[in-house]
Amino acid sequence: MFPRRDAYGMRSENMELFSAQNIVKQFDKHTALNNVSMDVPEGSIFGLLGPNGAGKTTMLRIINQITAPDHGELFFKGEKLKPKHIHHIGYLPEERGLYKKMKVGEQSVYLARLKGLSKKDAQKKLNYWFEKFEIQAWWNKKIEELSKGMQQKIQFIVTILHEPDLLIFDEPFSGFDPINVNLLKQEILKLKEAGTTIIFSTHDMASVEELCDYIVLINKSENILNGQIDELKKKYKSNIFEIIFTENNFNLLESTLSFNYKILEHIKQNKNNILKVELLNDLTTNQFITHMLKIGEIVSFREVLPGMNDIFIKVVEENT
């Protein structure tokens, strides 16, 4: 896959904010990334998924120009990725921390200036965020005097302070309590609304489903799945339906047509039966519903789409 270009050699409109093509990275005899590509559409939240040791962190480090790939190309806003782009990228690494003995304000200004902000701008933006999170009182405290969650808040602010076009979060929610996780998710969604593109790497599939538009799944250094979440779900659906009905005539349920579907789960809830079935042998939903009408009164019927968790496990296992 090569970047799309128009007749003038410029990359076309409505393109990816960031794109990595055929990235290869080797450490001695170990291949950390083998031909991994990813296209991150502008304004989207992009999940970088994979089991431990798949090469996610290496990929993120390559995007941040901490390490260079052995082969492959990287593009930022259509240009080849260069050191100057560092100022437009914000990175919250998984292994993160702050200088423990340094004061909160002083340290925030220092880190902001390393990202290219002037002292004045840094101060101004920090004031805004500190007010927003109501943490002005922390300014002159040392980092070591703050709780872990408080430190994470500072770390988050410092990451987004220079208003980067691309934000990279590696396991951003670790170390936060549920209330703050929620607060953070809201902020991430607000950043997305404001037009920021976000690369998001995590093991927490629930938050992937909640936040991500696109994903790439890396396993054993290779790209094994990528695309839009909705499409992937459709692609990996497995003819499983959930039907809720009121009746108890199970003899009928099991005697007829039973060879054409498989009951996966049956829960009784007061008068309601909640049934999870897999339709086999090209049995259509209409045929199934017609059949169910004979058994009882249908309350609801819906298709069960696979969760990202299921897809993740399925694809990784298939590729192992």
Partner: protein
């Protein structure tokens, strides 16, 4: 805005604001000036307790017996004019007992004397005397008695050999070699070996100490960044090499700041002590203990004019040779070799710091860094014996020992070519070690929880950017 300057600034400011830096900066000069102060203070006021010593001198008592028997005043005068007692000083009082009460020495001690000094009749031949006391006598007291007895006995022996003591005093000679160095351009300057040795030792030791102190600071700083997990946050903004160099340069500036503050504060402290606490006397060139000093001033006070002249001459020589020491060259070379040696070693310290997770893991990698430094300081402490030997030469050329050993050679005016070769090699080597360290560093700082060995480091060196 150059980011490396931001890093240098942070490294510098956070360190000089630390309490430990401020404490060290003040304590260093206080220690140095207190050594100076204590020496003089001891001499001025810290005198030992007064001691009263009873002397049982058989010769003296024999003399008294003769006088008593003869009852002749002339005889008394005759004998006593030749007889010299040990003089009492401000702190030591000698009382010559008139009866031979050696067998009752314990009784004498109990009656209030601190010690009993026994001079047997054969003292002139045996040259041993004995002293009895409850507590050990001080070294000062012992020296005092020895010095005076030696003089008294020498005088007595001279008298018996019929030699005039005054003639002897006149012909006494004290040779002081004034060393003159003839330079290549024909000018000649006076040098002072002793001062050169002192400068050689102090200069090389300071470099040794600074390399260790500040090299270790670089290492600890890196370990702190690594264990605090801040390092990946920073290197998403700057290159790892910039972060490493920023730290190295920042710490070097802390070192230079400390050095200059030490020099300035020491001068101020010593100056203040001299001005307010002490009489404005020139510091004595040779003094060890108060007693020694006192006895010296007493025995040498009626100096022969020639001797006094000589001493004045040697003092002015000292000042002249001080003037001839190329302080400009030595201080600028000190700064050069400090920086060169520091850059070389601190980059190695940085590589070690990046490779490990905790201070305690540093041991195995520290050894190869420590050994050349320790060898260098041992060589440097002996350079003054033969500053131009092949041994000294090679150790002052090899970059891993040159900063310390060349500093030790410098006061002895080594050939300019040696200094230049040494400097060039040092620059090339620290560029090399910094480059190597940078490669280890950029991989090491991102490695967590890995037991690192030399093979692993070798692998890192070959990783591509």
């Amino acid at each position: 805005m150059n980011k490396i300057l931001l890093i240098i600034k942070r490294e510098y400011l956070t360190r000089i604001k630390k309490r430990s830096f401020i404490v060290m900066t003040i304590i260093g000069p206080i220690l140095i000036s207190s050594i100076f102060f204590i020496q003089i203070w001891l001499k001025k006021s810290g005198q030992p307790e007064k001691r009263h010593i009873a002397v049982i001198d058989e010769n003296y008592q024999d003399g008294l017996d003769i006088i008593r028997k003869n009852r002749s005043d002339t005889a008394t005068d005759l004998i006593m004019s030749f007889y010299t007692k040990i003089p009492s000083s401000e702190y030591l009082k000698f009382t010559y007992l008139e009866e031979d009460t050696f067998s009752e020495k314990e009784k004498i001690l109990r009656s209030g004397y601190d010690a009993v000094l026994y001079l047997p009749e054969r003292v002139l031949k045996a040259s041993t005397v004995e002293i009895y006391s409850y507590d050990e006598i001080t070294l000062g007291t012992k020296n005092y008695i020895e010095n005076h007895l030696e003089k008294i006995i020498e005088k007595e022996k001279l008298r018996r050999e019929e030699v005039d003591a005054n003639i002897l005093a006149r012909i006494r000679t004290d040779i002081n070699i004034i060393s003159n160095i003839i330079k290549e351009d024909g000018t000649q300057v006076k040098s002072n070996l002793e001062i050169n040795i002192i400068i050689s030792i102090i200069g090389s030791f300071l470099i040794y100490m600074f390399i260790f102190m500040y090299g270790a600071q670089v290492m600890r700083g890196i370990i702190e960044e690594k264990t605090g997990r801040i390092v990946e946050v920073i290197i998403s903004s700057v290159k790892p090499f910039q972060l490493m160099m920023g730290k190295i340069v920042g710490v070097a500036m802390v070192g230079l700041t400390q050095f200059f503050l030490w020099v300035i504060l020491t001068v101020i402290f010593v100056g203040t002590i001299q001005l307010f606490i002490l009489d404005p006397v020139a510091p004595p060139t040779e003094q060890l203990t108060p007693e020694n000093f006192l006895s010296k001033s007493q025995t040498q006070s009626p100096l022969m004019p020639a001797q006094a002249e000589e001493e004045a001459l040697s003092l002015s020589d000292t000042f002249e040779s001080l003037k001839n020491i190329p302080f400009g060259l030595i201080i600028s070379s000190f700064i050069f070799f400090f920086l060169g040696g520091y850059l070389l070693y601190s980059s190695l310290f940085a590589a070690v710091g990046s490779a490990i997770d905790y201070d305690t893991d540093a041991q195995q990698f520290m050894l190869p860094i420590t050994i050349p430094l320790v060898v260098a300081i041992i060589v440097a402490m002996n350079v003054f014996d033969n500053p131009d030997s092949t041994f000294s030469y090679w150790f002052s050329i090899i970059p891993f020992t040159s900063p310390i050993v060349m500093m030790a050679r410098l006061p002895f005016s080594p050939p300019a070519t040696d200094i230049i070769i040494s400097m060039i090699l040092l620059i090339l080597t620290f560029i090399g070690t910094t480059w190597l360290a940078g490669k280890i560093y950029r991989t090491g700082i991102l490695m967590y929880g890995k037991k690192v060995n030399y093979r692993e480091l070798w692998k890192w060196l070959r990783y591509k950017g």
